[in-house]
Amino acid sequence: MNPASLLIPRPAQHEAIRSATVRLADARRSADGSDPDTVTSSLRMTPRGALALLLGVLLPCAALLVLKPQLMAAWHGTMLWWSERLALPLGLVRTGDTAALEWRGSDPVSLMPDPLTTGVVIATVVIGAFAGTFWMNDRQGPMKLLVRTLCAVQASALLFFMFMPERFPHTLSSHLNALLNAGFYLMLALPPLLALGWGVLRLPLQRRLLYPALMLLYFAVMLPHKAVLHALVVQHFSALLMPMLYLCCGAVLDLLVLVALCAWLTGLPPAQALARGTSGAR
């Protein structure tokens, strides 16, 4: 028998296929045409949704801008409270209405370690950490990437401080103030970012307002603590770590935290929506 003849369907099969095609087409047609709201509801913006979205952006941003002096004062107060207990030489300088943190200890260049001691130790750690990534398996890919990035930044800092330490332009005071400012602007960007991403999910108004507020509260608490941690590291280890702290553990870390929190929030709604729907039906 010619094998090609085995591929030809029998008349009964032809008829069954035709019937199945019609039944499926009917079902598809009724799915597309029965309730247009169902099909496009997830993409349609209702007035109530638009209002909630607007409130979720405008209210937190306006509150942040209005309360910026109080927020900064609270951050400075928190940092000074911790610096007093951790024996950090941190103070506050007032110029007119503005206040800024001032590092009253040695400047970064004088904090520079002896190149033959701390510099060599840090270089050894960097080389060791970089070499260690070659033993990481594929599943540890994210960790490998992170460690290698940190090593690359720290290695460039080591080279810079090795050849031209006197040209390092930053002070610890400017570092801390820059951290706080960057943190504040990230907080300012947080409500619009959340509204454009997580905010498009269908959620009750109270959650739409509560979760961004909780995230802002988290950043308001976290940012001064992170700045004190930077000061502590530079004070007790080495100014060699300042570039890495600024580049990798400053605004970039804040952004990573924001992404992680957004992912966390986005993972929450379906279960809650279902639970709410179920309880409502009982």
Partner: protein, 348 residues
């Protein structure tokens, strides 16, 4: 560090660690224990394939058969209750109370969700339906958009599933079901087969090697290209990739270790075993009890004979065709997609 009291320093570091690490905890947890792999692990956890198929078979017999106590009680309850799903909110899915069994002809235009087992009688009609547990659709039911069950999803005779059917455990489609896209660790078309042909696992047998193919020239490192039609003799062992410009015919009981592509169609004989992928621009016909390990793709029609097995629990595969006719007891692992129409074809 010695200048700072150790206790305060420790407390400060603890606070910082908590503040900085807490947001990453969910991401860390998902990295360590990815939930999207739980379905496959759960399916594998059933042990061997035979026991999983036996479970599916029992569920089908209970739910679609005439004598199961679960089914008969459910039918009575459904007739008495006349339960209807209620929507809690315009924007939320329709929610059905716990353990609703055998609702009579439920019709819904919005997403439906059930907490646990959702068992529906014949002629139910859904737009979208989601069940946390098992989902059973009675005969002649219709799913117009998608249906998902965290556990088993069973479709009675002559059901129509216009778009997606997904399950974390397994899906069974009874005779005359129409489908488009089915995705689950185990997919059974028609009645599940719990026994295997004694000679089915050809890799455990010592088959004579296939003679060199006529008019074949090398294709890649381990492959052969054949101009025109090609026949692999039944009961022989062929190793290597095969590209055929005509019709490829693989004899009954042949073992082919490699991928095959044929431009004008493929015929795979009974109990033949192909470890790799099978692809053709034209129709593919797979006869009874054949086994295909890799993806199976036809631009035209796929005819799957009784008891054909596609993929395995540990290596899920994808099956795709413009039209798919699946006979009784066809078992696939992974996804089956019919662009125009898929039909469970076999004895009713």
């Amino acid at each position: 560090v010695s200048a700072a009291p150790g206790l305060v320093l420790s407390f400060f570091l603890l606070v910082c660690a908590a503040l900085l690490l807490l947001p990453f905890y969910p991401a860390w947890r998902a990295w360590q224990r990815p939930t999207h792999r739980q379905a496959l692990r759960g399916a594998s956890g059933h042990g061997d394939q035979a026991s999983l198929l036996r479970q599916l078979g029992q569920q089908m017999t209970t739910l679609f058969g005439s004598g199961g106590p679960f089914a008969s009680e459910s039918l009575v309850q459904a007739l008495v209750r006349q339960h209807r799903p209620q929507a809690a909110d315009d924007h939320l899915p329709v929610s059905i109370a716990r353990n609703p069994q055998a609702h009579l002809g439920v019709q819904s235009h919005r997403p439906d969700c059930a907490d646990a087992v959702l068992q529906l009688r014949e002629n139910s009609d859904f737009h979208e339906v989601l069940a946390d547990g098992h989902l059973v659709l009675g005969p002649n039911s219709r799913v117009r958009s998608w249906a998902h069950a965290d556990k088993t999803l069973l479709l009675g005779e002559s059901c129509v599933a216009a778009r997606r059917l997904t399950s974390d455990h397994g899906i069974a489609l009874a005779h005359d079901c129409c489908f488009e896209w089915v995705k689950a660790p185990v997919i059974v078309f028609g009645r599940p087969r719990t026994h295997q042909h004694p000679d089915r696992d050809l890799r455990k047998r010592r088959l004579p090697p296939h003679a060199p193919l006529q008019d074949a020239h090398p294709w890649g490192p381990d492959g052969w290209q054949v101009d025109g039609d090609c026949i692999i003799q039944g009961g022989h062992h062929f190793t290597g990739t095969l590209v055929v410009t005509g019709v490829l015919s693989i004899g009954a009981g042949a073992l082919l270790e490699g991928d095959v592509t044929a431009h004008k169609g493929i015929v795979i004989g009974e109990r033949a075993h192909i470890t790799g992928s099978v692809m053709s621009d034209q129709s593919i016909r797979v006869f009874n009890e054949a086994v295909i390990g890799g993806p199976l793709v036809s631009e035209s029609m796929l005819q799957l004979g009784v008891g054909v097995r596609l993929g395995s629990l540990h290596t899920p595969t994808s099956v795709s065709g413009n039209v798919i006719l699946a006979d009784d007891g066809v078992t696939a692992h992974g996804s089956v997609h019919a662009a125009q129409a898929g039909l469970v074809w076999g004895p009713g």
